[in-house]
Symmetry: C2
Subunit: 494 residues, 2 copies
């Protein structure tokens, strides 16, 4: 075994991801489960009726003192640091947004001050309060053996967050292999197209629960229904949706992408996306559009005839654009915004100005980011963060070192980069290995996107991330190790 | 997502690894939990007093009908395949070896015949019976929806096994980072050298349980105590064991490999390996000997003086050999055989003829295998099977395609290759990700080593391994997927 980074304690303790601004002091406080409370501040616009916050308080309290119990650190001595007895949560704007969904334009900023005997967490909306509470939790030292739980960095910690990133769950919910989404309008899609119609589907209740679970944590859910490619599973329950491929002059029995020349296709898409727009509250839907293989379209004589009629010649990307254009018009009528994979932009499809272009090809993708933003589109970067591409050793460092704005472009162009996304595709991943493959590698992406541009000290990151990883393990989440090391409490799963 | 291999059902059903010889027929049988029994054959030399077998019967029965219960397949119709009511286990040699430990020379062969109404499993020793029972289990079709559990390949299945491979647990129990082995003779080694002296150690009782757990499954346990390198953790609890490194004319405060010039070193090793030889019943111990860094030895003036006295000049590999030679002599007095990493052979250390040389450097290692066997040593091959080197996609195929005897050498040399070993080093692996990283990638190695040389059909292997992997998932083992697919019962862990 060879040594790599050495985990010297960070002056930021176990904070992860590092807030945009942190002010440290030497003073520390004690927390005791019997006296510590998370409460609504007197002037908060979100009171006891805001179940989102009340739910979060319970969750965080259990997490804080659950750890204390397991570590048996709660039998504090009588002397020592003075006590912190309250975290006051103060929602400052008239509408706390307690009962809404987080959105692209949500104000997620907060400011956390830790001062004896109170800590005060000020946020305009509940979303900032959720993030700020997590920061409070990640201040807590779980390795201290003397005094229970101690706020490490205090006196006056002030933080403001403007950008908030790992706050969207992009749910790539169907693909070639399986259609697990149970559609009320077209139940045969999952009945025929899922791996199994009962055991391997997402029912409407499942989907609702995922969305509510996410909302309570300030997370948006954006579903992806990828067309016209990657739709093999759609064809099983929806006859005539896919293009019949030909072998010579006869249908071969196999099918290609969505058939773009039939009116029935667009009738189906209209009804389908009407349902989707109702089921998923987020203002955006991801429409896919990646990796369309033209082989089958080329083989089909009806498609060829249509190409001639439209004057597309042999340029099948024009046919793809034709389809996408009509799909975008359909989705526009549902009053949703849309995100599309970069190929749709690359192929010159006319897009609404507020379309989000998702860049995924080429690890660096500097050139593509320049092009997309020069055309005035907002964009999300995923290209450097395909977590399914595993490799030996500490590849989290590779993700961490990416600077997403490192492309040729004006300041205005850089402002169009609204976020980044870590992708974990499912070819080689399921419930057996998802969690250790995702964490803490995704955590590295989180800090890159969440923290200030100058937070680049890899040794400091290693130290904090090691502790953060043990915090996850302690909560029963099998986050894999960064390097040979140990946690005070190891994962007890199989 | 892109398709790779397509899982066409194999004519061998879900057998994994494929036995050396299989004879198929079209007839299949039904098994019912209420009537099926695993029993000792009338003439078996191992009766009810052989707790190893009785324990195995219970385990296998629970496994067989546990699956049936979960799948609710046990409410058989009245008509259909005829019933198989017994598996008779017949130990044929006078000494069943029920109460011994498996060893390098154990007879692990067996012959399994499935004929209505009995299946008969004949084996000279209990070890073959354990392997044969697993074969019986892996005949069982878990996906059949009509008839409970059916022996798929039957009438007369006959198998013989001569080589048996994944039947050794090589326990690399200490390393630079930590010394978790709690030694009765030198308790300070783990007291000072483990990550934590109570929560991160293997007590004598733990070690005993591991060995007994393995024995009951026909698995040998060979511990590795690697010296003179990789011993940083040893130095914490055993002063003067390691070489003090110098910075100029003064000790730098850091330490290098075991100090080979002190008599106290060899006194310590004598006592230590005397304990090890008593604690671990296997006839072999792994002595390591890999990756010795000479930098510290070179810096130390006492070592330099010793080198001069011995006439070693500046050849520090001679010093390494000097140490290893003395260590081998010590271990020889404990009447254990030893395995060493290939560097010890490469450095020309004089070895006993029955030494096992463990080849690990260079993915292919053809040349090294040729050299080691030409020198007349038995050898174990690990070089192509370092499972900690992960990569994207189906790397199990790479492991599967290796032919371990594909090196230049005589037939006599090939016979010296007594096995192969899949290694999973711990730099990036712990309880959070061990299981999905190990399985089914190690299963691929198992079949390569277990089955006949001509078992090389990768599509057939993909099909059988996919089912075998679901069998593991069904038993609660989070074995990762080969490719996007599903199991009837998915892993329910976190």
């Amino acid at each position: 075994m060879k040594a790599e980074l050495v985990a010297q304690p960070s002056k930021y303790g176990s904070l992860w991801p590092l807030p945009q601004k942190v002010q440290l002091s030497e003073v520390s406080f004690k927390l005791t489960s019997s006296s510590f409370r998370i409460v609504d501040a007197k002037d908060s616009t979100a009171g006891p009726s805001c179940s989102l916050l009340q739910d979060a308080y319970r969750r965080y309290y259990e997490y804080m003192f659950g750890i204390a119990k397991r570590q048996q650190l709660n039998k504090g001595r009588r002397t020592g640091p003075s006590e912190l007895t309250e975290l006051q949560v103060w929602i400052t704007s008239p509408d706390s947004e307690c009962d809404s969904y987080p959105s692209l334009t949500s104000d997620e900023s907060y400011e956390l001050s830790v001062n004896q005997p109170y800590a005060v967490l000020k946020a305009p909306k509940v979303w900032g309060a959720l993030h700020g509470s997590k920061t409070f939790l990640s201040c807590i030292v779980i390795f201290n053996f003397i005094y229970c739980l101690i706020v490490l960095l205090s006196s006056f910690i002030q933080e403001t967050m403007a950008m908030n990133k790992i706050n969207v769950f992009h749910w790539h919910i169907v693909d070639d292999q399986s259609f697990p989404y149970l559609s009320r309008t077209f139940p045969q899609l999952s009945q025929q197209g899922a791996y199994h119609p009962y055991t391997h589907v997402y029912t409407p209740a499942d989907v609702k629960m995922v969305i509510e679970f996410a909302r309570l944590r300030g997370i948006r859910v954006i579903p992806e229904f990828d067309t016209p490619g990657h739709t093999q599973s759609w064809g099983k329950g929806q006859p005539d949706l896919l293009t019949p491929c030909y072998s010579g002059s006869k249908p071969s029995g196999t099918f290609g992408p969505v058939n773009p020349i039939l009116n029935t296709t667009y009738d189906f898409m209209s009804q389908f996306f009407k349902e989707i727009s109702a089921v998923f509250p987020d203002a955006y839907v991801h429409l896919g559009g990646d990796e369309v293989d033209f082989t089958c379209w080329k083989s089909n004589p009806d498609i060829q005839k249509f190409m001639d009629q439209q004057g597309f010649g042999q340029d099948y990307s024009k046919l793809e654009s034709f389809y996408i254009q009509k799909l975008l018009d359909i989705v526009t009528t549902t009053e949703k915004g849309y995100t599309i994979w970069q190929e749709v932009f690359d192929n010159g499809v006319k897009l609404k100005p507020d379309t989000v272009v998702h860049v995924w090809i080429g690890g660096g993708s500097n050139e593509e980011m320049g092009k997309v933003t020069a055309a005035g589109y907002t964009t999300i970067l995923s290209a450097p963060w395909y977590l399914d591409y595993i490799s030996y050793a500490q590849d989290w460092q590779k993700y961490y070192k990416v600077e997403p704005l490192n492309f040729n472009g004006t300041e205005a162009q850089k402002k169009l980069v609204i976020g980044g996304e870590a992708c974990l595709w499912g070819e080689y991943v399921d419930a057996t290995n998802l969690t250790p493959r995702l964490w803490p590698r995704a955590s590295a992406v989180a800090e890159r996107l969440w923290s200030a541009k100058d937070v680049t000290d890899i040794n400091d990151a290693f130290s904090r991330l090691s502790v953060h990883r043990c915090r996850m393990v302690d909560r029963g989440i099998p986050a894999e190790p960064l390097f040979s090391s140990y946690c005070p409490h190891e994962y007890k799963g199989i």
